[in-house]
């Protein structure tokens, strides 16, 4: 079927070629211009002639007025000055900071105002009538009431504003008068500057054409493919038509032109009435309902699922079909999923879209850099950066790639310290990029210059090394362009910005930035956003994200002009927006014969995900046979993999394990923790002690539980160490409690642990931890009064012992006993625990044979974990030191008031208990060294919950 553009081109008589260059052809979009030019060239392949001006409407306006449209940011900066002026300073000359938003907060609000202003001008609204006080606005009821609907709306509006003011309405009218003032002063000021927003130019051209005060640079103007015209566009077109120097081509379909209910035809019907066909006005009218179409509604799951559907559809298409295919994205977020889902038969593809800058590392890097810069403390030489943000910055892939040494630097970032001196980070040979990234900047303009330099430096480096893909280059270019603009604006208007304001501003500006991907070839698959389809026709159309909220885009009409007022002044409302979208949608279908509409079957949290209204509409409009529906699903088959893992004790492993055997002095010893791990899961033992696969280091700057435990142990040792060998009396303890010894010991331990010079440098939660540890230890030691007097035999004593296993080798065992003392002839071995204590008591009176069972339990069940350690220590003491009556205690710091828990209540552990323990230990070790027994996964998957290796085991 002949497309709209072909229609226009075909009507050009070859005789006109000589004068073509005096004409302008005006289309709604640049992309349409491109297709028109191609069509023109194809129509006259043998001729040589001047091409006419082929312009988008915006370019046309710019060309005619000789002015250009300013960058939004410049406008916003200027607008802010005027808005600010509506907050008069108080007598001291200060503006109420609470009320007046800072520029970053103003940013989005300013965009709304700017859009409103733009529309007011574009629609030739009498701004004096509109932007004034609400009370004055009330007489519009009499002035603007060309339809009942409007009258109704205005009545309501006036009633509302006439009522007792409510919190909301008075806040509104207050704001409204500010906006009105802003408009007038802003607009007045712009007149004298180079700054202008689009609407101003439209209004200017319309007015000058009406007055006859302008000469166009063209002899004839052809408008083609328009739908909803703003008032100024209407005037421009009208005047030129009257002068006899314009021609208009309308593109419409009977479906919406003749059917009053079709919102898609809302504007076209009006246009038709206003401009019926003449020799200047051409109506290209199709009748899609008359032609057979194949329309398919296809459900797909979420973004990637939909993209996969499209991939499958594309694969089934021939080259010819692909060349005439438009792939239309209602949601730009699907670009990447679609690009990756393209099947092999696609080898040329043309993308015309805006893509959010947020998807790129360049954006992320900018954010990381700003975070780093804004979270520092100190000044000059002694400026410290927050470790976390430093890490974030250095780990950005762009830095990682462009700075080979960044990994080393990262390694050097001390894990536990919250602050890192910037002077330590930067060294002589840091290289340009690192220096740019890490140098501390204070002033706003330095900051922005620095970020630009940094991005540029990385860009250049990677570019030279050819490590950048095309798309990334685009991202980089646009990010930089934005930043530079921002820099200029800041310089011009806003040197007093706070760094934090600047940072938010940068982030907002980049967040909204779209990277225009604009391809040029007209061959191959055409991928585009909805607005790009204007005036184009495709045989085969595939649309994706046909869901409410995307198609049409939800009610995004963010305006501060109330609905009724918009109606009265004939400004577009969301109803018009919907109509425009409907037109785009129906227009794409107009001449297509094969249409696939893909929607997301899943409802999102925000409620979006309902199928698009247009699907219902099509079902109502087209005969049943033309429409088919289906859902594409992936079969719910998990490709399961075997998660079993077993490591036989190969010769190699056995050799590894030799190091636990006492062969010479180098023998490594097994700790109770290691054995415990083995008992819980032999595979875990294998990973931990044979492979030595270490757990992942956590990136915390706070004390983590393990640090906490270590500090407590260390502090207790420091406190008691001087008393080892002595008899500790109650007085001793009271002296301790009264002195600063406890606090000092804690502070010292913390310092040593954090490699900090002084605990006064502690921050945030760690201050709390410090106090908590002091209190805990104080309480624990105070409890020791009840045990006193006792003879302190040792604090943190490490004992070793060898145990013979099958085959005659000895295994070396080792344990560190937190505290041992002697009281009333009994050796007390005490273990301080800051973590969870698992201890299962024994009934106080227990028969000897029950001991065996009890000990055995310690080998079998993890919940006997704390007791196991106790028994182990007792066993060591018993064996290495002396065969004395021993009591085993655990001091659970989480329940410090309850004091020490004794394994066998207050009783000593009989030596039979230790014998049994040794027997069991021997069994376990025999098994460990038994080459026929592989390391296996535990059967109890509960034990895997906190295991570091559960990803490997797929537990």
């Amino acid at each position: 079927m002949k497309g709209f553009i072909t229609h226009i081109v075909d009507r050009l008589p070859p005789d006109d070629l000589n004068t073509l260059h005096t004409r302008a052809f005006v289309f709604p979009s640049r992309r349409a211009c491109y297709h028109f030019r191609e069509a023109l060239l194809n129509r006259f392949p043998q001729e040589t002639f001047w091409l006419p001006a082929i312009l988008s409407v915006e370019d046309f306006i710019v060309r005619c007025t000789g002015k250009s449209i300013s960058n939004e940011l410049d406008l916003l900066f200027a607008l802010y000055q005027h808005y600010k002026a509506t907050y008069p300073p108080n007598p001291e000359g200060k503006v109420d900071k609470e009320e007046l938003p800072t520029f970053d907060k103003f940013y989005s609000w300013g965009q709304v105002l700017l859009r409103d202003f733009d529309e007011v001008d574009r629609y030739l609204v009498n701004a004096k009538d509109l932007y004034r006080n609400l009370e004055q606005l009330r007489d519009i009821e009499n002035r603007y009431q060309d339809s009942e609907e409007v009258l109704f709306a205005l009545k309501r509006f006036n009633d509302m504003m006439g009522n007792e003011p409510t919190l909301l309405s008075s806040s509104f009218s207050n704001q409204w008068s500010r906006v009105s003032k802003t408009y007038h002063s802003f607009r007045g000021a712009l007149g004298d500057s180079d700054l202008q927003y689009g609407g101003m130019l439209y209004r200017q051209l319309a007015e000058q054409l009406q007055d006859g005060t302008i000469d166009l640079p063209f002899e004839r103007v052809v408008f083609a493919g328009f739908n909803a015209l703003s008032r100024s566009e209407e005037v421009i077109m009208e005047t030129l038509l009257k002068k006899g120097i314009a021609e208009v081509y309308w593109d419409a379909d009977k479906l919406f032109l003749e059917n009053e209910v079709e919102e898609a035809g809302r504007f076209m019907r009006r246009n038709r009435k206003k401009w019926p066909p003449t020799d200047q006005v051409h109506w290209v009218i199709s009748d899609m309902a008359k032609h057979h179409k194949k329309i398919q509604f296809i459900g797909g799951v979420q973004s990637v699922g939909q993209a996969q559907v499209v991939g499958q559809l594309l694969q089934q298409m021939t080259k010819d079909q692909l060349d005439n295919c438009g792939l239309v994205l209602a949601d730009e977020g699907l670009l990447f999923p679609l690009l990756y889902a393209l099947p092999e038969n696609i080898n040329s593809l043309n993308v015309t879209m805006g893509y959010p800058a947020k998807h790129s590392h360049w954006f992320r890097l900018t954010v990381a850099f700003l975070d780093y810069q804004l979270n520092k403390r100190g000044r000059g030489e002694s400026t410290y950066a927050d470790t976390q943000y430093t890490r974030e910055l250095l780990m950005n892939p762009l830095i990682k790639r462009s700075v080979p040494g960044s990994g080393k630097l990262l390694l050097g970032l001390r894990k536990k310290s919250k602050w890192v001196g910037i002077s330590e980070l930067i060294t002589e040979d840091s290289g340009e990029i690192l220096k740019l990234a890490l140098t501390s900047w204070e002033r706003v303009n330095e900051l922005i210059a620095a970020v630009v330099k940094l991005l540029l430096a990385i860009y250049q480096k990677l570019r030279v090394e050819e490590k950048l893909e095309l798309l990334e280059t685009e991202f980089a270019y646009h990010a930089l362009k934005h930043l530079l603009k921002l820099g200029e604006g800041v310089e011009k208007y806003h040197q007093e910005l706070e760094p934090i304001t600047l940072s938010r501003l940068i982030i907002q500006a980049l967040e909204q930035a779209r990277i225009p991907f604009s391809g040029e070839p007209t061959e191959g698959l055409q991928m585009m956003g909805f607005l790009e389809t204007r005036a184009l026709d495709f045989e085969r159309v595939i649309m994706v994200s046909a869901n409410e909220g995307q198609l049409p885009k939800g009610n995004q009409h963010n305006s501060y002009i109330p609905f009724a007022i918009r109606k009265a002044f004939k400004l577009p409302t969301f109803e018009e927006q919907d109509a425009i979208y409907a037109y785009h949608f129906k227009r794409v279908l107009q001449r297509a014969s094969d249409i696939s509409i893909v929607y997301n079957t899943e409802v999102a949290i925000d409620g979006s995900g309902e199928k698009s209204r247009y699907l219902w509409q099509l079902k109502e409009t087209f005969p049943k046979e033309m429409i088919s529906e289906c859902i594409y699903q992936m079969p719910f088959s998990k490709s399961e993999v075997n998660s079993q893992l077993e490591i036989p004790k190969s010769a190699e492993i056995l050799e590894q394990m030799q190091r636990f055997l006492v062969i010479d002095e180098t023998a490594k010893s097994l700790s109770p923790t290691a054995i415990r791990h083995y008992l819980d899961c032999s595979l875990r033992f294998y990973f931990r002690y044979i492979v030595k696969l270490r757990e992942r280091e956590k990136e915390t700057t706070d004390l983590d539980p393990r640090d906490f435990g270590n500090i407590v142990h260390q502090a207790v040792e420091k406190i008691y160490q001087p008393l080892v060998g002595q008899t500790v009396t109650r007085d001793h303890i009271q002296d301790l409690l009264a002195s600063s010894a406890i606090n000092d010991a804690v502070d010292e331990s913390i310092s040593e642990h954090l490699m900090k010079s002084s605990p006064s440098l502690l921050e945030g939660k760690d201050i709390l931890h410090q106090q908590v540890i002091q209190k805990l230890i104080y309480k624990a030691i105070a409890k020791d009064q009840w045990a006193a007097p006792f003879q302190l035999l040792g604090a943190e004593i490490t004992l070793q012992s060898d145990l013979r296993i099958n085959g005659g080798s000895n295994v070396r065992l080792e344990g560190t006993l937190d505290r041992v003392h002697l009281a009333r002839g009994i050796v007390h071995i005490i273990d301080y625990k800051t973590g969870k204590v698992d201890l299962v008591y024994l009934p106080s009176k227990i028969a000897a044979e029950d001991w065996d069972n009890y000990v055995l339990k310690h080998f079998e069940e993890p919940k006997y974990k704390s007791g196991f350690q106790g028994l182990f220590y007792g066993y060591l003491w018993n064996k290495v030191r002396e065969n004395a009556p021993i009591k085993l205690g655990v001091y659970p710091m989480k329940k410090v008031n309850e004091g020490i828990k004794w394994l066998n209540k207050q009783q000593v552990v009989p030596s039979a208990g230790f014998q049994e323990f040794e027997r069991q230990l021997q069994n376990a070790l025999n098994e460990l060294f038994d080459e026929t027994k592989p390391f296996v996964q535990t059967k109890e998957s509960a034990r895997c919950r906190f295991c570091d290796y559960k990803e490997i085991c797929q537990r």
Binding site: Q308, H361, Y459, T473, Q617, Q633, S637, N897
Partner: protein, 1064 residues
């Protein structure tokens, strides 16, 4: 407007326009709602734009919209449907004038073509819209993102709070005392978890109600500190005085050579009271109270020690006991109150600070939390605000329909009330639909009182317009199931009234269940089976599950239908246990657990890869990757030991030997892709089979979502993933056969032919220590407006006894409601497993589902259903075949493979990056830049005097930098100073500047062509150095010009760099 009230029916106006529907389970609530909606639009087909319908979930919204449209389609096609009959019946009185078919058609067209005004949404969504419309009035930024992640918000806020500890001494002091009080009470010392949990109260309405009223002057850390002191003193005083008395008593007894063994009750008897007091147990037994008051003896009559005891009593014990009794009676409540209040006082004191940090978090991330909307609105929406809201929304709502009204919260109600009164003022329709028995969202503010009474009370002005209707017929469940539920819930609501500690006035429970009886509307019989198992130390769970499994198995053998089953559990943990169990037996399961992404090996593989990206030295990640990959390709005979050993010995990067070569080769290069692209490129390298994989697809979606938030790095992703992975699920394909397993809360609104409740043993009371707030405060505490308490029966002895009782009542009602929701999901059969009680059950202790079930199954009248032997209750017929449910089937097509290939070589884009040079700042770049700029300037100029204007224009467009003006100006002026050059701009000639020539189907663009009929000059500006190609090119232009008929074409090349002009 024009057809407004065209068919107005006088009767219709007089009918009541304010309707409350009480709709029990299965009574066709949605049907009714849709019907009412249709009636409005059939009366006036343009009224759809004035109806606001509020539903509870997104799914319900979608369903309601769909049903309305489908009915309208059927009606306008003239189909004879149930809906049509019902409507015709109800609007009989004006049927003469009513042409349903036409009007349906009109309404349908109206809606479809002005769909944005088809306002059916969830209340959350509606409020979001309102907040957005009012953003400026609320002083919000206008481009905020809506977020639902309250957990992350709280975590981040706490981090901010901790940071503040450094500088804020008061805060630090309080936090320290908090930690110390934990230590003193042996509750550890960590605040994180407590605060995280407690902080969630900030998202709750109940709390907000009080919080917003508190004066910060009166309530702050300082005043709380005083309160804490007071409470401690009260507690200490009470304890120490009683202990002193108890000590005296013990001494006295000992002094008389007695011990507690001698007294009544022996070691657990009256004299034990003194020991208990010394061990901080201050509860007095009734016996002791009687003895102390002298109304009972200290001994049993047979005691040999009567005389000695009498002696000691006289010697002072009696007096002491009396003093204990009296002191206790006077002060015990204050003591318990003090103790209970202290439980949360520290957390409470931090809430304000956390709330501040939450604000900071929201602002710095430009977020709005969905949970926050109704609070914000509550603060600004007052009664007469409806017109303003309409204006802001651009929609004028006349009729308001609210579904699931029992789950509406007070704030939500207050926020929509202005719309409702506005409607009623204008005699429009208001419809509230709900079922108090299905109110199970108390934890998030749902308040069944609204439906029960309050809504009507609030709108008492409009009582004349009100009618309350009940839907009595249950169309969902089979006859026997309905009969069982009728009986069960009638009995249950009565029996539970006897529960201990309920308030005297517990009408709520009976009111809620007043209308529980339904008439069955279905023709089939169906059946209910309740089986009791011996508890057997928890073994019963296995037995019960086995039984449920056998039910499924048998049914499937017969019918092959897994999807007839819905298995309901109380908690998420149970859901995962059950679904794991079923899965291992090879039964297909549709549950959150079965669909979880994070347990899928290929997802794990990718995540491990990301870890390695973050830290190339991470040997664990290296091992995980290699191992999972090898498992994935099913490598046999692999020496895993070697694999693990090597992953440790390799210093950094991939374990190359065990991964595909292509991946190894591209690894470094890929590392700079954003996380979505990285995953898209890595997947095909790692997973060779191109099989369509819903898990990986979903995982990619997750990556994409993060990317779109600007979290593009592996580190960003992992940080997010580790917190949120549990909730990441694939979408279960709709046509797949499987047993659905879910919690009762999630099942609300669903139904299924067969419902299994494998473990019906939960408590109906609120859980012990559940936090709740009370505003019933005595004068002493009144300034706090609202205080937090933990649910515990001890509260009966405190000043908060009535708050406790009320909480118990509300909790119990909700508990029974949960059972109601569960039992009424079944269409055909209901299977419930529970525990056989071991002891006889006290009548005031039925608030445990198994006890309640047992009691009711053994109730008189149901003997025929009860089989004592097997402890099984069977009512109805469990073998009747299950009718097939007809489902509208959209054909499904299988996605045949995963397509995932790099696109770089396919896509052509017009790259603007050559302009990059305009941004650079080295010598080379400056040169190029200047060339570009001069070129651009010349392009625009038509005469020399244009220079300044053009420069300014181009600066505004961002093409020429301000600081480059001088340089560019110099270059351009320099050119114009050469007579040759200015000749290109001589007046009177016709100029073609930057215009295109079409020739042989191609386009050419000479920079400047001027002509005066006789002579024609063509000029091309060059930034580059001289080059013979330039001559060729310009000669080409000349040839074209000649072809177009131009004579005497002269050719010039202008080298802007050196300002050199060359004639060709």
């Amino acid at each position: 407007m024009n057809q407004l009230h065209l068919f107005e029916d006088p009767e219709a106006i007089n009918t009541k326009n304010f309707t409350i529907y009480r709709a029990s389970a299965g009574s066709g609530k949605t049907f009714t709602l849709v019907k009412e909606y249709l009636k409005i639009v059939l009366r006036n087909p343009s009224d759809y734009q004035h109806i606001l319908a509020i539903t509870f979930t997104n799914k319900a919204t979608e369903e309601m919209k769909r049903r309305i449209l489908e009915h309208l389609i059927d009606l306008s096609a003239g189909k004879s449907t149930d809906m049509r009959h019902v409507i015709e019946k109800e609007v009989r009185h004006y049927e003469q004038k009513l042409n349903i078919q036409d009007r349906a058609k009109k309404a349908l067209t109206n809606i479809l073509h002005n769909y944005s005004r088809f306002s059916i949404s969830t209340i959350d969504h509606f409020f979001s819209q309102l907040v957005r419309a009012l953003a400026r009035e609320l002083k919000l930024s206008l481009n905020y993102q809506i977020d639902v992640d309250d957990d992350t918000a709280m975590k981040e806020s706490l981090l901010l709070l901790y940071q503040n500890l450094t500088h804020d001494e008061e805060l630090r002091g309080w936090a320290k005392d908090f930690a110390f009080s934990k230590i003193d009470n042996d509750k550890g010392w960590q605040l994180d978890y407590t605060l995280l949990e407690f902080g969630k109260e900030l998202f709750k309405e109940k709390f907000h109600q009080g919080f917003s009223k508190i004066s910060r002057e009166e309530v702050n850390i300082k005043s709380l500190r005083e309160l804490e002191q007071d409470l401690q003193n009260t507690e200490r005083e009470f304890a120490s005085y009683l202990k002193e008395l108890a000590g005296q008593a013990k001494k006295l007894i000992a002094a008389h050579g007695l011990s507690k063994e001698n007294f009544k009750g022996k070691s657990n008897g009256v004299a034990n009271t003194f020991d208990k007091i010394l061990f901080n147990n201050f509860k007095l037994t009734d016996t002791f109270k009687n003895v102390a008051q002298g109304t009972a003896d200290w001994y049993t009559q047979k005691s040999p020690d009567i005389a000695r005891i009498d002696g000691v009593v006289k010697a002072g014990l009696g007096k002491i006991a009396l003093e204990i009794y009296q002191y206790h009676a006077a002060h015990h409540a204050a003591y318990v109150t003090a103790k209970q209040l202290q439980r949360h006082i520290y957390s409470y004191g931090l809430l304000d600070a956390i709330s501040e940090q939450l604000k900071t978090y929201r602002q710095s991330n430009n977020l709005m939390l969905l949970s926050h909307n109704s609070f914000l609105l509550r603060e600004i929406i007052s009664d007469h605000e409806a017109p303003f809201l309409f204006e802001k929304l651009g929609s004028y709502y006349q009729h308001v329909l609210i579904d699931e009204f029992q789950d509406t919260s007070v704030y939500q109600w207050e926020n929509v009330k202005p719309l409702i009164t506005n409607s009623l003022d204008h005699n429009h329709h208001v419809l509230l639909v709900g079922d108090v028995k299905q109110s199970i969202y108390r934890w998030r503010g749902g308040d069944l009182n609204l439906l029960l009474n309050q809504a009507v009370d609030d709108l008492s002005l409009y009582r004349d317009q009100l009618q309350v209707e009940s839907l009595q017929i249950n169309r969902r469940s089979a006859g026997q199931v309905v009969a069982f539920n009728n009986q069960f819930f009638t009995l249950a609501s009565q029996l539970l009234l006897a529960t201990k500690d309920l308030p005297d006035d517990s009408t709520m429970l009976s009111e809620v269940y007043r209308e529980v009886e339904q008439e069955p509307g279905s023709s089939s019989n169906g059946g209910v089976c309740i089986k009791f198992f011996e508890r057997n130390e928890g073994q019963w769970r296995n037995e019960a599950l086995k039984f449920s499994t056998s039910v499924i198995r048998e049914h499937v053998v017969e019918t092959g239908n897994y999807s007839d089953f819905l298995v309901l559990c109380d908690t998420n943990l149970e859901v995962s246990e059950v679904s794991q169990h079923l899965s291992t037996l090879g039964i297909p399961v549709d549950s959150e657990q079965a669909l979880s992404l994070s347990s899928y090996w290929a997802v794990r593989l990718l995540v491990s890869g990301m870890y390695l990206l973050v830290d190339a030295r991470d040997s664990l990640a290296r091992a995980e990757m290699a191992c999972l990959y090898q498992k994935g390709v099913q490598a046999e005979d692999l020496d895993f030991n070697e694999l693990f050993m090597e992953s440790c010995s390799v210093g950094s990067g991939l374990l190359e030997k065990y991964l595909p070569a292509a991946l190894v080769e591209q690894w470094d290069e890929l590392s700079s892709r954003n996380i979505y692209e990285w995953a898209s490129q890595v997947i095909p390298l790692l997973i060779e089979s191109k099989k369509a994989d819903p898990f990986l697809t979903r995982f990619l979606d997750v990556c994409l979502e993060q990317n779109a938030k600007g979290k593009t790095t592996a580190r960003d992703f992992i940080n997010w993933w580790e917190v949120h992975k549990e909730q990441q699920m694939v979408v279960f394909p709709s046509h797949q056969e499987a047993v659905r397993v879910m919690t009762i809360h999630k099942a609300k609104g669903l139904e299924s032919p067969i419902v299994l409740i494998p473990w019906a043993d939960f408590e109906l009371k609120p859980r012990k220590d559940n936090l709740f707030w009370t505003d019933e405060l005595s004068a002493q505490f009144s300034k706090y407006k609202l205080l937090p308490l933990s649910f515990s029966s001890e509260l009966m002895d405190s000043y908060f006894s009535s708050a406790y009782q009320q909480e118990l009542l509300e909790g119990l009602t909700e508990g029974l409601n949960t059972v109601y929701v569960a039992f009424t999901r079944a269409r055909q059969r209901l299977y419930v497993n529970s525990i056989k009680p071991t002891r006889s059950i006290a009548a005031d202790d039925l608030a445990h589902l198994y006890k309640l079930l047992w009691e009711i199954c053994n109730h008189p009248g149901w003997e025929s259903c009860w089989d004592a032997q097997s402890s099984t209750f069977i009512k109805g017929d469990l073998s009747e075949s299950v009718p097939k449910t007809k489902q509208e089937i959209v054909p499904t097509i299988a996605v045949d493979q995963m397509r995932m290939a790099p696109y770089a070589n396919k896509v052509t884009i017009r790259s603007e990056n050559s302009k990059m040079f305009t941004l650079l700042d080295n010598y080379h770049a400056r040169n190029i830049r200047e060339g570009l700029q001069v070129h651009a300037v010349l392009e625009r100029m038509s005469q020399r005097s244009d220079l300044e204007t053009v420069l300014n224009q181009l600066t505004a467009e961002g093409v020429v930098k301000k600081e480059d003006h001088d340089g560019v100006r110099g270059k351009v002026e320099g050119l114009f100073d050469q007579p040759d050059f200015s000749a290109f701009f001589q007046p009177g000639w016709k100029v073609f500047s930057e215009m295109d020539i079409a020739s042989m189907g191609r386009r050419y663009t000479p920079d400047r062509v001027i002509t005066n009929q006789q002579r024609t000059i063509v000029v091309d500006y060059k930034r580059e150095k001289e080059n013979p190609e330039h001559g060729k090119q310009i000669k080409g232009y000349a040839a074209m010009l000649e072809k177009m008929g131009y004579r005497q074409v002269e050719m010039f090349l202008v080298y802007v760099g050196e300002a050199k002009i060359v004639q060709v």
